[in-house]
């Protein structure tokens, strides 16, 4: 365990993704800023069709490794105190969170910048794959150029 392992917590879970554990992990007496992001299932989907739910799968061992790297990079770049990343796997219904990122730092600017870096980096690098399942029973795997 290096010095950043205790600062970075990553999780891939079949359970509900929740904000509170991340906030608890990230909040320290020294952290004046705790910033969070929830990625939530929305409808319509990328092609305009009504979405029933999302389905996520991952190359789990590699994804955990990449998420740790992403967290450590943000700690290095912005002097963050803590980074928590949790991502849901399997089915995630409308309105439910598939991604939770919480970062903390002594001051707000570092937290805002670090939060954006973590979200952008994990979306472009972690081997996690999303399928939109539509209300009409059809489905489609989502490609990065469709993600904003």
């Amino acid at each position: 365990m290096d010095e950043h392992d205790e600062k970075v917590h990553v999780l891939l879970t079949e359970d509900t993704v929740r904000l509170e554990p991340g906030v608890t992990f990230a909040t320290l007496p020294s952290t004046g800023a705790v910033a969070s992001f929830l990625g939530v299932t929305r409808s319509p989907g990328h092609n305009g069709k009504p979405v029933d739910h999302l389905y996520f799968e991952s190359y789990k061992s590699m994804a955990l490794k990449v998420l740790r790297e992403v967290g450590r990079e943000a700690v290095e770049a912005h002097g963050l105190s803590r980074v928590h990343i949790s991502h849901g796997l399997g089915n995630v219904g409308l309105g439910a969170a598939s991604l939770c990122v919480v970062v903390s730092s002594p001051h707000r600017r570092e937290a805002f910048r670090g939060l954006e870096q973590v979200v952008d980096a994990l979306k472009s690098r972690a081997p996690i794959f999303k399928k939109e399942v539509y209300s009409d029973g059809t489905s489609q795997w989502v490609e990065p150029h469709q993600c904003k």
């Binding site: 990625g39 996520f56 799968e57 991952s58 190359y59 061992s61 590699m62 994804a63 490794k65 991502h87 598939s98 991604l99 979200v119 994990l122 979306k123 472009s124 690098r125 972690a126 081997p127 996690i128 794959f129 999303k130 399928k131 795997w141 989502v142 490609e143 990065p144 469709q146 993600c147």
Partner: protein, 85 residues
């Protein structure tokens, strides 16, 4: 030599397999494997350009596939476009 290739997402569904066993020449590169996949699994051909390989959980850039020799003792995976979040 015999190699195993992990599959995820669309390729996994398309080929109804989470892992392929492929026979390929000793000393073959990832570029050779890409060619072999097109021959063995033509339905995958149009999707392959958007995929990369991961060797021991490290993503290999497509421009380096010709210089990357396959080691059958290392874990090999086909990585489709990522879309987490």
């Amino acid at each position: 030599m015999q190699i195993k290739l992990k599959l995820f997402a669309y390729p996994r569904e398309l080929l109804s397999a989470s892992e392929l066993e492929i026979t390929i020449c000793e000393g073959a590169t990832l570029l050779d494997l890409r060619g072999a996949l097109i021959t063995l699994y033509p339905t995958l051909a149009s999707f392959l350009p958007s995929c990369s390989f991961a060797l021991s959980e490290e993503l290999i850039q497509q421009c380096k596939e010709g210089n990357t020799t396959i080691d059958p003792t290392k874990e090999l995976a086909l990585i489709p476009p990522v879309s987490g979040g």
